[in-house]
């Protein structure tokens, strides 16, 4: 049974993040928080953020749903800690560009941690939404003041 291409989607790192999601604990009094849902599959993401000065200090990230959504949310939570809102926005841009087909350059790669593992999702257009759900929550949660 030829599952090569399926393996491109479900890489080890993805299945690993799905099994042991990072930063899963809910933060009780976050500086900001957001919730996003994908009505088509019932997937949900909750994010809580605490900035200290201009850097993200703590993140809570809970995803319900498919592997792609769970893994992205976990990877995202790892990648954003310690970054400024500006850097986070840049990261979001890099990720979206990657999903639209542009491979990240070296500089971007440095900031993306495990996220490049999600490249295979591009071959499954209907699943791209799953990889973007947590980013839409992130956008809503980013404090506007700190730009």
């Amino acid at each position: 049974m030829d599952l090569n291409s399926l393996d491109d989607l479900y890489r080890d790192a993805i299945l690993d993040h799905r099994r042991t999601p990072r930063n899963r604990e809910v933060i009780d009094n976050p500086g900001s928080a957001a919730h996003a849902i994908n009505p088509f599959c019932g997937d949900e993401v909750n994010l809580q953020l605490i900035f200290t000065k201009d850097r993200l200090d703590q993140v809570g990230a809970q995803a319900i749903g498919c592997s792609i959504n769970q893994a992205t949310t976990s990877m995202l939570s790892e990648a954003i800690v310690g970054k400024s809102t500006l850097e986070i926005r840049r990261l979001a841009k890099s990720f979206e560009s990657m999903m639209r087909g542009a491979d990240p350059d070296d500089e971007a790669l440095k900031t993306m941690e495990d996220l490049p593992q999600l490249k295979g999702v591009r071959e499954y257009p209907v699943r791209i939404k799953c990889a973007l759900l947590s980013w839409s929550a992130l956008e809503d949660a980013l404090p506007n003041a700190v730009i």
């Binding site: 299945l15 009505p39 019932g42 997937d43 592997s67 792609i68």
Partner: protein
Amino acid sequence: MATQAASAQPSLDVARIREDFPILNRMVYGKPLVYLDNAATSQKPRSVIESLVDYYENYNANVHRGVHSLSMEATDAMEAARTKVAKFVGAETDECIIWTRNATESLNLVAHTWARAHVHEGDEIVTTPMEHHSNLVPWQELAIAKGAKLRFLPMTDEGTLDLTAVDSVISKRTKLVAVTQASNSLGTINPVEELAQAAHAHGAKILVDGAQSAPHMPVNVQDLGADFFAFSGHKMMGPTGIGALYTKREILDEMEPLLTGGEMVLQVTYEKASWADLPMRFEAGTPNIADAIAFGVATDYLNNLGMDNVRKHEESLTEYALERFSQIKEFTVFGPRSVELRGGIISFHNENLHPHDLGTYLDRQGIAIRTGHHCTMPLMGKLGVPATARASLYVYNTEAEIDCLIEAINGALRYFRNGS
């Protein structure tokens, strides 16, 4: 008609039926297509596809007002299709059938016309917890607009309606009972006749969502006691873009149109208009002529198989599938266990294998199932799941395809348990 075919043809020759469906030759990722998403839309037999080609290549024209041959031929064919569809659901006359785009438009048509005129503040609309959004949201909107109340018949754990509650829920405040004949998420077949009697006993009307029943079992709206019956062509071997609303003649006579304009008027001045006869009054603008004709051809095809036979085949296939599913311990299967109480729709769920991941995995094996809430979000809440995977059967499906599904599900379980 169904009965005749049944006696002539005690069991269906599914291999031969499959030859009528060109798409079943399709390969997906190098595997033969196993199409188990029939509740979303059915595939189409060659005769239906050919009727579209025939129409456009030979007699395409606008209907109803033309004195030229093409227009007369198109009109005759479209009205003959209306007769076929009317007969298929047992309507008293052709005029009781209004063409719509789909079941959703049919349901909305009742909400925006009859119900808007007859449901008032304090009135109640009774429905069930297993309705498709299309038979729920229009009633929510109406209830909000009118200050009316939406009430739900309770459901058993098995996913059937709890009929002991009928007398306490349906009352003289009830103006409309809106209920699906067959659930697209659970498979459940509801006892429409009994609900119709309860509704009528209190002077209420009953609207039946037939989107999942008309394709799969013999239906007679008069026997059911339905005042309204909504269905979609595309789920019963017809093309997309055509559906129908059956309305009891005496109700239709008093119903005001929703859409106005060409074809539906009798006389128009610059100030005002009067309405044409039934059913044109409800069909503003150029109808979906080609697809209406093809919908008629789809009912020919189904009649030819015999709806009793279709139902029988699906019953036995469902029995087989439920049996096979019971061997996979990891999955919960929703809906009634007895095939008498259900259609060929099998929703299943496993905590640790999200339907989306399963759907993608199965697609790689050429197997098309649906994953998600199936347009029944509140029901998902009741079942305590965000979404389910759903395999839905039709007359061209086989036990071999069920085997293929089960094998692939086991493969997915292994794949996601072990990682790549």
